[in-house]
């Protein structure tokens, strides 16, 4: 059970990993070796191997979020060599395979870093603020039982495709960590665009965008300054055009919706 012997044809990698015992503890980098890694290992499977090794040595294993391991749940969330999810196009950490690395590589592994995502332990961060943004308005208000026949709401193929392109977001938070301002604009923009393009999403469109942006600001996220790092880091390839849509929706809400917003007592008019 102690250190396995190095097998021919397999890789040995040097990992420099962020370790932090708790939210208020100081963090530091530790160095570990990953041995006997094949190209077919996923990045997380490689970490599993390292953790088994650490457990055998009596060292606490590296904590990281993961679940589905097929790129859809959005749980995994590491920064690899400075890039959230490691920089392979449209790929989450769990789908990043070790064939993209070479024997002897040094790999830096860190948690997502953003003001709105406090670190809980090692590579695990609290992304509850993304839920708060959705709670502020990322839905169409319809109670169970109230829906008309599905085909009574006609949606052009183009609109349905556009909506799904936006709705593919898995809520992993890579966009936030990649953004120099720690903004969740791609995340919020995707939801605003998905619901806003649907005919039955329009009645709440103005209120939705304003409330979601208010929540984003209150949660400690920054704003967009057009670096587009979010799109580059997004494992689902969500397009920055959805941020443009969000800005357009926001402007429309300001021009047309301010009065309505005050009347319906949704709070103070937004100043910025």
């Amino acid at each position: 059970m102690t250190k396995a012997k190095d097998q021919p044809g397999l890789m040995t990698l040097k990992l420099i990993v962020w370790r932090q015992a708790g939210p208020d503890e100081p963090g530091r980098f530790e160095t570990y070796l990953a041995r006997n890694i094949s190209g077919d290992h996923s990045f997380l499977e490689m970490l599993d191997v390292v953790n088994e090794d650490l457990i055998a040595q009596g060292i606490e294993p590296i904590e990281f979020d993961h679940d589905c391991r097929e790129g859809i749940c959005g749980a995994c969330s590491q920064v690899i060599n400075g890039i959230p999810h490691g920089g392979q196009s449209r790929t989450t950490v769990c789908q990043l395979h070790m064939r993209h690395f070479s024997d002897g590589d040094t790999i830096y592994i860190e948690p997502l870093r953003a003001r709105a995502f406090p670190i809980l332990k090692d590579l695990v961060v609290d992304r509850g603020t993304l839920d708060k943004i959705i709670q502020a308005g990322g839905y169409i208000s319809v109670n169970t039982g109230a829906a008309p026949d599905g085909n009574s709401i006609l949606i052009s193929k183009e609109a349905a495709d556009y909506a799904l392109d936006a709705a593919e977001c898995i809520g992993c938070g890579a966009c936030v960590a990649a953004c120099p301002n720690g903004a969740a604009m791609l995340f919020a923009g995707a939801k605003v665009s998905h619901l806003g393009v649907l005919p039955h999403g329009r009645p709440e469109a103005a209120r939705r965008v304003v409330e979601m942006l208010d929540a984003m600001r209150d949660c400690g996220f920054g704003n967009c300054s057009n670096h587009f790092e979010c799109q580059a880091a997004c494992p689902k390839g969500i397009d920055v055009k959805f941020i443009a849509t969000l800005n357009r929706e926001y402007l429309k809400a300001m021009v047309h919706g301010l009065a309505a917003r005050t009347v319906s007592d949704l709070g103070q008019p937004v100043e910025d």
């Binding site: 294993p61 789908q95 052009s156």
Partner: protein, 637 residues
């Protein structure tokens, strides 16, 4: 005494309507006095919690993930069935009902299946209204596709990520109720005990996974929506965190666990590659619409697949099942694939795989159409294997995928413990011995949006709110027991990791209680599992402490539950001396190798009662009566 599922008698067509009318109601003011505890935030849990809150109940909902949006429903790819008959190809509620009963190999309750088929249409309407971006045609109407086990096109879909879109719909409805102050979500919180008060389910004891705090939550009913148990095979298509824990604690508190041996092995998954592997990845069944399964006619043919001429390929599903072809149901397709590999016709490493070939569909429809239908699946395949399935066929192999068995529930989705409701994959449900594709999403949402909200009122109407006190003896006992269990896991301090024990368990289960089972193999499994259980409690090493985030501790709890549960699965499989659906006993097969049911002796659901550690569980039988779908042999040939 036979177990009574309490299905309504009389004409099946309006059985649910009549039953609904007979259920007691609660006025809106009264609803606000009841608190419902929902465990799990997948399709069943999120839809139930949102709907209950809309109706005025106070709801607390728990998930161990960091957000309710990550529950494993999100990974469902292919689609959701409904009997809309938009395709005008002869579909109806009755046909969906019949397909589901037949697909399940006549081991489900007729009235429940009828209700599911009936509610399927409302689900689509509701999800559309929520903004779920289903595929549309150029006229703006909803699109359908075909799926295994059906000859009509009734599957609604959103590319290859239908589960994700439906879950995000339910999650958005849940989020709306959180904002309205009706629902409180507890993420990173794992349920470790069920608290009973005078025999009724009134609370849960949980562990806060970040701080390690163990505490009880009290309510007036508990709704378990904790998903399936296929990680008992260690490697499966399930998420890594999917455990049997919630089901298992309910069982140990007296809830019956039904048909645990009904497990589904999915035919089209990416073949395993090595020891270190942490999961098996599904390639949606919808791929079999355009993909054709084949193996080389010649054993050990090592040529590249594209170099093998058509006459040297065996399209075995089309040959064996001409009327359904590549769309044969999952259990049948899985066995056919495994049979080819066992005979030595398999391809890829260790011959574990068959080809799933899209070349005909690509040449007929063009790459763009295939890309639109399955783009994300092809992408996923390439990420994992490094191969381009547009150019060469995929290789696929069966993998554990879905559990039809689960906690026994009556027609009201209530277990034999009053106040304990079980929804979605966690209950033993409507899928009998084999689930048809695109039916799991349908069931989770039917249970949560449209069934539980009615039936729970009927139960609550006869109870007094707030019966269980947070500072009462029941909660204190429960907390003490859980603290002791956590200490016990941390205290073994052995040499082997949790991962080691799960790999061992998975290997025992796959080898002896997997796709094919025999009395001998199951007895062997039982003896090996017993040894493994002892070894676990002597030699497991759980590093770290209980008062902080400790995923090894969580995994150790899950492993311990799985090891115990695996025994019950084998006991059930051993007792069921027939083959049906996903349960294939080699002793019971037709001359051409198909499953051989024994309706005379086994036409019942087997509900097991816990009688104590190491004691034989007690069997209760719920007889299954088929009036609308007469019992018949199941043939897809």
């Amino acid at each position: 005494m036979p177990l009574d599922g309490k299905a309504p008698s009389g004409a099946i067509e309006d059985s649910w309507d009549r039953h609904r009318f007979e259920l007691k109601l609660l006025n809106p003011e009264k609803k606000g006095r009841f608190r419902i505890l929902v465990v799990g935030t997948g399709l069943a849990g999120a839809s139930a919690a949102a709907t209950l809150a809309e109706l005025g109940y106070r709801v607390e909902i728990f998930c161990w993930q960091d957000s309710p949006r990550r529950a494993h429903s999100i990974a469902a790819q292919g689609g959701i069935n409904a009997a809309k008959n938009y395709a005008n190809d002869g579909d109806s509620v009755r046909r969906l009902f019949l397909d589901t009963i037949r697909g399940g190999d006549f081991r489900s309750r007729e009235a429940d299946v009828w209700r599911l088929a009936q509610l399927s249409n409302q689900i689509i309407d509701h999800c559309v209204a929520q903004g779920v971006p289903f595929a549309r045609d150029y006229g703006g109407h909803l699109e359908n596709r075909s799926f295994g086990g059906a000859q009509v096109s009734r599957t609604f879909y959103a590319r290859g990520q239908t589960g994700q879109q439906l879950l995000l719909g339910a999650y958005s409805a849940l989020s709306r109720q959180v904002a309205a102050g009706k629902v409180k979500v507890f993420p990173r919180t794992e349920i470790l005990d069920l608290v009973l008060r005078e025999g009724e389910a009134k609370g849960v004891t949980v562990r806060d996974l970040v701080t390690g705090e163990i505490r009880s939550h009290t309510g007036d009913a508990v709704v378990l929506c904790s998903g399936g148990y296929m990680n008992v095979y260690n490697l499966s298509t399930m998420a890594r965190g999917a455990g049997v824990g919630a089901i298992w604690i309910a069982y140990k508190k007296g809830a019956y666990l039904a048909n645990p041996c009904f497990t589904q092995i999915h035919p089209t998954c990416i073949p395993p590659t090595g020891e270190y592997q942490s999961k098996l990845t599904l390639m949606s069944e919808s791929l079999r619409n355009d993909g054709r399964c084949w193996v080389p006619v010649k054993k050990g043919d090592s040529r590249e697949p594209n170099m093998i001429p058509p006459e040297e390929r065996d399209y075995f599903l089309e040959r064996q099942y001409p009327s359904y072809g590549n769309l044969a149901p999952r259990d049948i397709a899985s066995r056919a694939v495994k049979e080819q590999c066992d005979k030595g016709f398999g391809v890829g490493p260790e011959g574990r795989g068959v080809y799933l070939d899209f070349s005909r569909a690509i040449s007929r429809l063009g790459v763009a159409v295939i890309q639109e239908r399955y783009g994300n699946l092809f992408e996923m395949y390439e990420q994992i294997t490094g191969e381009d399935a547009y150019k060469a066929p995929m290789r696929i192999y069966p993998a554990p995928h879905y559990s039809m068995g689960g906690l026994w529930v009556d027609y009201n989705l209530m277990s034999n413990i009053p106040g304990l409701f079980v929804l979605g994959e966690a209950n033993f449900s409507v899928h009998g011995a084999n689930r048809l594709g695109a039916s799991a999403l349908m069931q989770g949402l039917a249970d949560g949006y449209f069934i539980l909200p009615y039936t729970i009122a009927h139960y609550l109407a006869g109870t007094r709110p707030g019966a269980l006190l947070a500072n009462g003896p029941e909660c204190a006992d429960s907390i003490r027991n859980i603290q002791a269990r956590v200490s016990a896991l941390l205290g073994v301090n052995g040499k082997r990791s949790v991962g080691h024990f799960m790999r061992e368990l998975g290997s025992i289960m796959w080898t002896h209680a997997g796709m094919t089972r025999s009395a001998d193999s199951l007895k062997e499994a039982l003896s090996q599992i017993r040894e493994l259980r002892d070894e676990f409690w002597e030699d497991v090493r759980v590093p770290g402490k209980g008062d902080s985030l400790n995923s090894q501790l969580e995994a150790a709890g899950r492993a311990s539950d799985f090891i115990e549960f695996a025994q019950l699965l084998c006991v059930d499989a051993l007792h069921r001396e027939e083959s049906c659906g996903g349960h294939f006993r080699v002793e019971h097969q037709t001359p051409d190798g198909e499953a051989l049911r024994d309706d005379e002796n086994f036409c019942y659901s087997a509900a097991w009662e816990y009688t104590g550690k190491d004691a034989e569980p007690r069997l209760h039988k719920e007889p299954l009566i088929f009036k609308e779908a007469p019992l018949e042999g199941r043939s897809y040939r």
